[in-house]
Amino acid sequence: MVHHKKTAFLKFFFTYFISVALLILVSGFFYLQEMKSQLIKSQHFSLIEYARTIKMGGDMSRFSNDFHNKLVFKNERLDIRNFSQVENEFIKYIPTKMDNRYLKVFKSKTSFIEAMKKLKLKILFTQLFLLLIFAIISYILAKNALKPLNESIETLDKFAKDLIHDLNTPITAMGLNIKLLEKQECNKNSKPFIRLKKSINVISELRETLTTLLEKKTFQVCKTDICTIVKDVVELHQVNYPTLSYKVNCSSFEVEINSNAMKQILQNIISNASKYNKKNGYVKIYSKNKTLYIEDSGVGIVDTTEIFNREYSKQNSTGLGLDIVKRLAQEMNIKVEVTSNKNGSCFKLNF
């Protein structure tokens, strides 16, 4: 469940945060544009003021070294609103009483650039501050929004756990009674008895897998040699399928896993490989480049994309096995790949 919770949380968080962040960035951009044009206007205005002081005669000491002027000839008529900028100066032409003569006033850009720099910094910090606030808000929102969902998941989990817990006692009783019946000679070879025994085994195996699955939350992973687990599982199957040949080529392969869960995964895959095998077939297990291969000479799988679905099931199976493999592998960050043809299938576990 932890995996799903994380994805749901991240999805919610980023959808909200990115949309708000976009809004903040765009408005910040337009604010910068607006402020910039205002600054330019004020430069324009200061040039007019400078020209007027020259023409009317006034206190020139108000104007710093940034300003200077000269008289120029211009043949065409200039718009009174003219204003332009070159590399490091603002320029404006002011008409004079003399024909075709204009007063050209200049102002250095230094103060403007300084002001722009300040403005940009101010906007940048405001935006960062806003983004931080909205990141916190998105976090709290995502947490709160997912709370009821998490609670219902937890209730379901707990319910499943209690249910499995309550299965323990009757399963024990079934096992004990099978043992009692086994002691009576007449039962030993009776078909209904053998069928009953097999069914009880299936139930206890299912209980075991479900227990591992529900313990995912308290999953502890540690460096473990997979080969020993492989050998254990193979040994169990060798007894049940004496006609199959099991070839294990695995010496030392250490990975971060939970050994219980890994055992379940291998159990499920190898049990399928054995169950759907040909007469005198083989099951090969070997490791190569951080990958464990389980190859069989079985009947093959028609549609390999379907098999991990809960609904997919073959004769004599619950369809739960590979679904469990998928969930457990996901929890331990193991990638499972399957290739299959008429001559067999190959499961690759990529660590």
Binding site: T169, P170, I171, N177, L180
Partner: protein, 213 residues
């Protein structure tokens, strides 16, 4: 061997009793905490098999109070609680073993036998002393491999002596273990056992001793 089984699931308890019968274990079955307190008051047992989630007093509390009152009978918990916290609590209150459901019956029997043998400081199921031998699991005394039937009090006394070969036992301790019989009847039982040629020595002012050192 006397076993007290605390299990509230009727079906599981009945199945266990049937299986233990094959092993020649005597089972007293109770379904709740009160039952345990009553039967431990009336009888002494060689082993307790306790479920944890039972009515009235749960298994952990029960064993804790039994241990606090000085009862050191070996105890195995049979429980569906499989987490480490419960396991650790089980051993904390004084369990000798902890078996998780579903368990394998044969495994349980192996564990029970091991516990009993440890109790008698022995590695074998039969303790031999000179020409006498005592079967721990069946509670039977043999002399030159011949079964000697004993009445309950004398059997208890014999068991006590075989548990403490070559150790002096205080009279008070023996009386206490035999559910408070009188001083006089203890002397009668000891004399009867001596007639069966059990080497019991009187240690003056202290008590008795089985086998000289």
């Amino acid at each position: 061997m006397n076993i007290l089984l605390l299990e509230d699931d009727e079906i599981l308890a009945e199945s266990l009793i049937d299986l233990f019968e094959v092993e020649d274990f005597k089972i007293t079955h109770v379904t709740d905490g009160n039952g345990v307190l009553d039967s431990t008051f009336e009888n002494s047992f060689d082993l307790y098999l306790f479920d944890v989630n039972v009515p009235v007093l749960n298994g952990f509390e029960l064993l804790k109070s039994l241990r606090e009152s000085g009862d050191s009978t070996p105890c195995i918990f049979l429980t569906a609680l499989s987490d480490v916290a419960s396991l650790s609590l089980g051993f904390d209150v004084g369990a000798d073993d902890y078996v998780k459901k579903p368990f394998d019956f044969d495994e349980l029997v192996v564990r029970i036998k091991a516990l009993i043998k440890k109790r008698y400081n022995s590695y074998k199921e039969k303790i031999r002393f000179e020409n006498l031998s005592f079967d721990l699991l069946k509670d039977e005394l043999y002399k030159d491999d011949e079964f000697i039937p004993l009445p309950p009090s004398e059997l208890k006394l014999t068991k006590l002596f075989f548990k403490n070969i070559a150790k002096t036992l205080a009279k008070e301790y023996i009386l206490d273990e035999l559910s408070n019989i009188s001083d006089g009847s203890l002397r009668v039982h000891i004399n009867k056992l001596r007639k069966l040629e059990l080497p019991i020595v009187t240690v003056k002012g202290v008590g008795y001793r089985f086998g000289s050192s």
